[in-house]
Symmetry: C2
Subunit: 276 residues, 2 copies
């Protein structure tokens, strides 16, 4: 059987990223870690077509986005554009909300782990802008065409466990739109827009992990997804609005329907009374 | 800065998988492709700790799960346990349903691309069982401890594009439960069950692609997630029931609440009439 040329991807976490504090310049920190990595992979620094993924947590820390844990509920409220669903549980109320980045997340993405004692961490201010800034600086520093993805960890409806997604991106094709192309049998592909940036985020979560203090990873082998610097960012992965069939939780939507029926009933009574 | 030992993952698609037809023995086909792969990576066959991902489509084809395209709507109905949401669009009605595997998917997972002309393809009968069978056979054939994931492509609420998830798994830790462990600062991890099998599925979608006829991939470097053969399968990734805050689409839930209010109103009227 002939050997078909296939994509070979490798991914690894960059060791040596120190604890990030407010005001740190992430570009400087990441360049230092990349350059001092004694692993084989990075001996030549970053290469053309590499994609760097950065956990949002260190972007938030560098931006000084921590608030007192006592103010957590208020912080979630402040980050919330719209409550999608909420549920009372043993430790309080879980709120699934759309936040100011358009992301639908538990607790608006406010993070209570891996933060300094007594504080919680808000999501970065503008992860697409930060990705672009970081991407530009790293491209200049290493003289190569590379991409940057800023990741966060989310729960998903209907699936157990969490997975990483892209909340910021620059220099990569975040969505690979294959509509209009044909499959191996020559038939048009039906459902065929791949969420490349989310899949890259998920892939590198497998090498970064959650406990090892490894917030940065490199993916090599996906140069075909690396684009010009100002390609659309991760914001374009957000699907809210008319297309969103789940813009309210089941309980919330049910109650809204129930209330509406009662309201109409009340209005019809009012009308009747007025007519008397 | 000291060099920390980190996970290094690599992934590639196995070339040379022929078009699969009903009755094919996937183990035989995959072993043949792996053995004849002239790439460096597989020169030694599969290695200890490797994880193989297999697109559900070829499992379905081997199982003869194709039906006439004219019967597509009926096939979706037959695969459906529960309608979660539906929407009329330009080409008909999109139904998001829970299917017999517990998966919430558009069109119940019935697939219209990459299939023979005039047919559509149902999901495999029991992907966890198939994964276990394949995993056992490959472990015996290559004399190594490896894992198998059967993947499918799904849309997600609130996110554009599709990503691959695990619908079958054997020999791997599908969920990595880190609750009770501590983070780099010694604080307990708050949200910390990683959907490992879904992230592996997503990672290998990046090397398999949708158009190249590459339905099988290998991930190397995640041996720490490879377990005994009969570990729980991908079914354990399904979250439905009491935990599911999105068991109905917004429109459907709203209408259910609206109808319930009207029903109660009608009942209260009936009572009134009876009392007269």
């Amino acid at each position: 059987m002939p050997h078909t040329r296939t994509v070979r991807m490798s991914a690894w976490a960059v060791p040596g990223i120190p604890e990030i504090v407010s005001g740190n310049d992430l570009t400087v920190v990441i360049v230092a870690a990349v350059v001092s990595d004694s692993g084989d992979e990075l001996s030549g620094g970053l290469q053309d077509g590499d994609i760097l993924t950065v956990t949002s947590k260190i972007v938030s820390k560098a931006e000084g986005r921590s608030v007192q844990a006592a103010d957590r509920e208020q912080a979630i409220t402040d980050e919330t554009v719209r409550v999608v669903a909420s549920r009372v549980n043993a430790t309080g109320v879980t709120r699934i909300v759309e936040n100011r980045l358009g992301l639908v997340m538990a607790a608006a993405g406010v993070d209570s782990s891996n933060t300094s004692d007594g504080t919680v961490l808000l999501l970065p201010l503008d992860p697409d802008a930060t990705a672009r800034q970081l991407c530009r600086a790293l491209r200049e520093r290493f003289g190569v065409r590379l991409g940057v993805v800023i990741t966060d960890t989310v729960g998903r409806p209907w699936r157990m466990g969490q997975a990483d997604i892209a909340i910021g991106a620059a220099g990569i094709r975040v969505l690979d739109d294959l509509r209009g192309t044909v499959d191996a049998s020559g038939r048009p592909l039906a459902v065929s827009v791949t969420a490349v940036a989310d899949e890259i985020a998920a892939a590198t979560d497998l090498v970064k992990g959650k406990v090892g203090g490894l917030p940065v990873a490199v993916v090599r082998g996906l140069a075909h997804h690396v684009t010009e610097l100002d390609a659309v960012g991760a914001r374009s992965l957000v699907r809210i609005g008319a297309d969103d069939m789940f813009h309210l939780g089941t309980k919330e939507a049910w109650l809204a329907g129930f209330d509406e029926a009662n309201k109409r009933l009340a209005r019809s009574h009012d009308t009747t009374f007025e007519e008397d």
